[in-house]
Symmetry: C2
Subunit: 232 residues, 2 copies
C-alpha cells in the first residue's frame, strides 16, 4: 500500500504541511513566523504539491492535527482540510497535537510529557510512553496550570513542546535532574511527525466523517465562554 | 544571542533547508523527490527566506551537512553554502550527516546506530549515545558492508537513516529484538536537526575557513578512484 497523504498541522503558530507516500516522507514545509495561517496554509500546500510534481486529485487521503492548541489555528487547519477533502472526495484522519509532539522523542528512555502553551497560565498536557517501540498514551489529555501538573509528577520525564519551553524554569525548579528536554529544534509539532499517526489511523480505518470533523479543544474557546455567559 | 542561521543538508536524495534564530526554529523545507539538488537547492533557500520575510544579508552564519553521504549531493550543498558565505562574508559551520540523524532520536533508551546507504553494498555508520541529555559519538564514523558492521554489534541499538531502512531485514535477522527503529518519518536527515549542532559549533567557534570547506566523504569518490587507477 502506497497511500499518498497530505497532512496539516496548525495547532501552534508554527504551521506545517507534510506529504508522504506509504511509509516514505516526500516533503515537508514548516513555518514558524507568526504569520496568519489563513493567509499561508493554502500557499504552502500548493507549494509542496508543486515541488513534488503532484496535484490534489492524486492524493488518497488527508490528515489533520485536531488539537489541542490554538483555537484560531486549529479552525483554519480543520476548515482547510475539510474543504480539500470535500472537493476531492477523500477521507480524513485526525490526530492529537500532543501525540504528534511525543512522536518527536521516539524510543525515549523516560516517558514523555508533551506540553503546549494554552495561554491564561495553563498548558495542554499529555503523558505518553514508548512500549515495544510504539507510542502509548498514559491517560487523558488535559488542560491545567503548569504548577498543578507538576504537583502530580515525580518520575523522570522528557518534556517537549512550546509549553515545556515556556515553563522550563518552573519544571526544572520542581523536578531538578528528573526533568529532561530534547534539542531545541524538536519543540514545535511537525506535520511529518503526525504523518505516521495519520497513516496508522487510515490503515485502521479511523476515518472521521466530514460532518464530525471539528477541532479538539479540550476546553471551550474563549468566544464560546463569553457567548455562554452572555446568554446565561 | 539570537544568531540567524541558514542550514543546508544534501547528504541524501532528500535535501532540506532550515532557518533558525537563536534556539528557535523559524522554518524548514524538506524535499525527498529525487530531483537534482543543483536545480532545487537555491530555489528552496530563496523560498524559505521569502516565507520568513528575511534576506540573505540578514543571516549571521551558515551551516552545512558535510557528509558522509551522496558525493554529488554533498558537492552541490557545500558549493552552494560556500558561494553564499563568500558573497555575504559570513562564517560556516559543518556538521556530520550521521550525527544529524542521531539528533532525531533524542534521549533514546539505547545507543543510536545512524546508517546511510553508501551504495556498492556498503553503509556509512556512526554510533552515538545520549549522556547527560547530550549526544556523544562512540568512536569514528566509518563505511563498511552492513554484515560486517553487524558482526561487531551485539548490544540493543536504535537504527536510524536510509541505510537502516535498506538493510532492515538483515539487521533484524542478526539482532532480533535487540534492534529498534524509530517511526518512519525520522529516517531522512533534516536540516532542522543539524541546526542545533551548527549553533553549538558556532558558539564554540568551530568555524571552517572557506578554503578548507569540503565534503566529508570518508572514502574517495568513485571518480577519484577511477582517476587514481588510470594515473597509477
Amino acid at each position: 500500500m502506497n497511500e499518498l497523504l497530505l497532512v496539516v498541522d496548525t495547532a501552534t503558530p508554527a504551521g506545517s504541511v507534510a506529504l508522504s507516500r506509504g511509509t516514505t516522507l516526500l516533503g515537508e514545509i514548516a513555518l514558524n513566523v507568526r504569520k496568519n495561517h489563513t493567509d499561508h496554509l493554502l500557499n504552502i500546500i500548493q507549494q509542496l504539491l508543486k515541488d513534488a510534481d503532484l496535484s490534489l486529485g492524486q492524493l488518497d487521503a488527508f490528515g489533520v492535527v485536531l488539537g489541542p492548541g490554538s483555537f484560531t489555528g486549529l479552525r483554519v487547519g480543520v476548515a482547510t482540510v475539510k474543504g480539500l477533502a470535500l472537493a476531492t472526495d477523500r477521507p480524513v484522519v485526525g490526530v492529537s497535537s500532543l501525540a504528534t509532539l511525543a512522536m518527536q522523542v521516539p524510543l525515549s528512555v523516560f516517558p514523555v510529557c508533551a506540553l503546549l502553551d494554552a495561554r491564561k497560565s495553563e498548558v495542554y498536557a499529555g503523558l505518553f510512553d514508548w512500549k515495544n517501540d510504539r507510542l502509548e498514551p498514559m491517560g487523558e489529555e488535559t488542560v491545567l496550570p503548569p504548577a498543578r501538573l507538576l504537583d502530580s509528577l515525580d518520575q523522570e520525564l522528557v518534556f517537549v513542546g512550546d509549553g515545556a519551553l515556556a515553563y522550563r524554569e518552573l519544571i526544572v525548579a520542581r523536578l531538578g535532574g528528573r526533568a529532561h528536554f530534547p534539542p531545541w529544534p524538536l519543540h514545535m509539532p511537525r506535520a511529518s511527525s503526525a504523518a505516521s499517526l495519520v497513516l496508522d489511523g487510515l490503515r485502521q480505518q479511523k476515518v472521521i466523517p466530514l460532518e464530525s470533523l471539528v477541532p479538539a479543544y479540550i476546553r471551550p474557546s474563549e468566544a464560546e465562554v463569553m457567548w455562554a455567559s452572555r446568554e446565561g
